[in-house]
């Protein structure tokens, strides 16, 4: 049974990498901005993955992205690790605290904002310097918009996907 659960985590990790490559195809409105499509599987599995499984999925996502994009030994990887883990922790916390009273849109926006705050702090501290705070509001607005879009798609996918329902019923039962 454990093997099956680790298998679905690995598969969701692969889905994160797939969405990450899809995102690469979209033009970026501003440099350094990301839509966050790779977070979709993380959002979709919050309901039936245990917190440590979600964190393992995030670890697989950032490591996989680092290996595929070749950014494992660069600042990009550190930004990705910091942003992804804080965002995942924020999403786990709000989804557990509010349960069914919060939609995936709300959870996604929380995650996006947390990730953006951490990445802005890192870029101000290590790359651009204090003057870069002037662009922080732009990134926060863009981050919130992308959080809403990803959350809306996740919500729709959770409602309509037969496959996700099957996965959920199989792995909730074996967890």
């Amino acid at each position: 049974m454990r093997r099956e659960r680790s298998d679905i985590i690995a598969f969701m990790g692969a889905l994160c990498l797939f969405f990450s490559t899809i995102e690469y195809l979209f033009p970026k409105p501003v440099p350094f901005f990301r839509l966050g499509l790779a977070n979709l599987p993380v959002l979709l599995t919050l309901g039936f993955f245990k917190p440590r499984e979600t964190l393992l999925l995030v670890a697989l996502k950032v490591l996989g992205q680092g290996l595929i994009n070749g950014t494992l030994a660069s600042y990009v990887f550190l930004f990705s690790v910091a942003g992804s883990f804080t965002s995942a922790l924020a999403m786990i916390t709000v989804s557990r605290a509010f349960g069914s009273r919060i939609t995936l849109v709300g959870v996604s926006v929380f995650g996006a904002i947390t990730s953006n705050i951490v990445q802005i702090i890192l870029s101000v501290t290590f790359i651009f310097g204090m003057t870069a705070w002037v662009i922080a509001p732009v990134f926060m607005v863009l981050g919130s918009v992308s959080g809403v879009l990803v959350g809306l798609f996740a919500e729709r996918f959770r409602e309509q996907s037969v496959w996700l329902r099957r996965v959920e019923s199989t792995y909730v039962a074996t967890g």
């Binding site: 093997r3 099956e4 680790s6 298998d7 679905i8 985590i9 690995a10 598969f11 990790g13 692969a14 889905l15 990498l17 797939f18 440099p31 350094f32 393992l56 670890a59 697989l60 490591l63 996989g64 680092g66 290996l67 595929i68 994009n69 070749g70 950014t71 494992l72 030994a73 660069s74 600042y75 990009v76 990887f77 790359i127 651009f128 310097g129 204090m130 003057t131 870069a132 729709r156 996918f157 309509q160 996907s161 037969v162 496959w163 099957r166 996965v167 199989t170 792995y171 074996t174």
Partner: protein, 210 residues
């Protein structure tokens, strides 16, 4: 054997571990480099190596990156004033430190791009899990060639997912393709760090003089 001009020359001639070690050996030599000109040349060479490893480089993206890092550094004046643009003085120390910082960050990305690739196997349980992730990733990419219909997007995604991953049914293990390092590959993997460390000799000479 592939020629050095081939877009995946490094990938065909050097195994993932040797290439990773090569990249790791270059990083300190690149970080300690103080000359802006040498650093610029190193960054260009790393970009060429990244291309030889089969990676696509977007020059505009990296130019914007160096420019924006330099711009934000120049906003905090430091050192001799070079020119005055309206109310903003462009100072020498701030400008040089901005360019060096920008080149360093972009150079590290290029080193990472040429020295790290998906077939690099990480040790331990996590390494095994990553191998599994790549196995499924390849299957998803193959599945993507089937039709994704925008009008019934979620249903068509569902069909692909159903085909690739049936919940509860274990899959066969992935087979990894092993790339062995050729003699030319060893030579290149040895030469890259050596040249970068030799370029540091003037820096060590300065320390000796102090």
């Amino acid at each position: 054997m592939s020629r050095p001009g081939d877009s995946r020359f490094l990938r065909r001639n050097i195994g993932p571990v040797i290439l990773f070690v090569c990249g790791a050996a270059v990083i300190p030599a690149f970080l300690f480099q103080r000359s802006v000109v040498v650093k610029l040349v190193q960054v260009i060479v790393f970009a060429v190596l990244a291309t030889a490893a089969g990676k696509k480089i977007k020059p505009v993206y990296f130019l914007v990156m160096v420019t924006s890092i330099t711009f934000f550094n120049v906003l905090s004046p430091l050192g001799r004033v070079l020119i005055q643009i309206g109310p903003f003085p462009v100072t020498e120390t701030a400008l040089v430190s901005g360019v060096v910082k920008g080149l360093t960050i972009v150079g590290l990305v290029f080193i990472s791009l040429f020295s790290i690739r998906p077939d690099l196997r990480l040790p331990g349980r996590m390494g095994g899990m990553i191998g599994r992730v790549f196995f499924y990733f390849e299957r998803i990419i193959e599945g993507k060639r089937r039709k994704l219909e925008p009008r019934r997007l979620i249903a068509s995604i569902d069909e692909i997912l159903e085909e690739i991953f049936e919940p509860g049914v274990p899959e066969a293990e992935a087979k990894a393709t092993i790339i062995k390092t050729t003699r030319l590959g060893y030579l290149i993997a040895f030469a890259i760090p050596v040249v970068n460390w030799v370029l540091l000799l003037p820096f060590f000479a300065t320390i000796g003089a102090v």
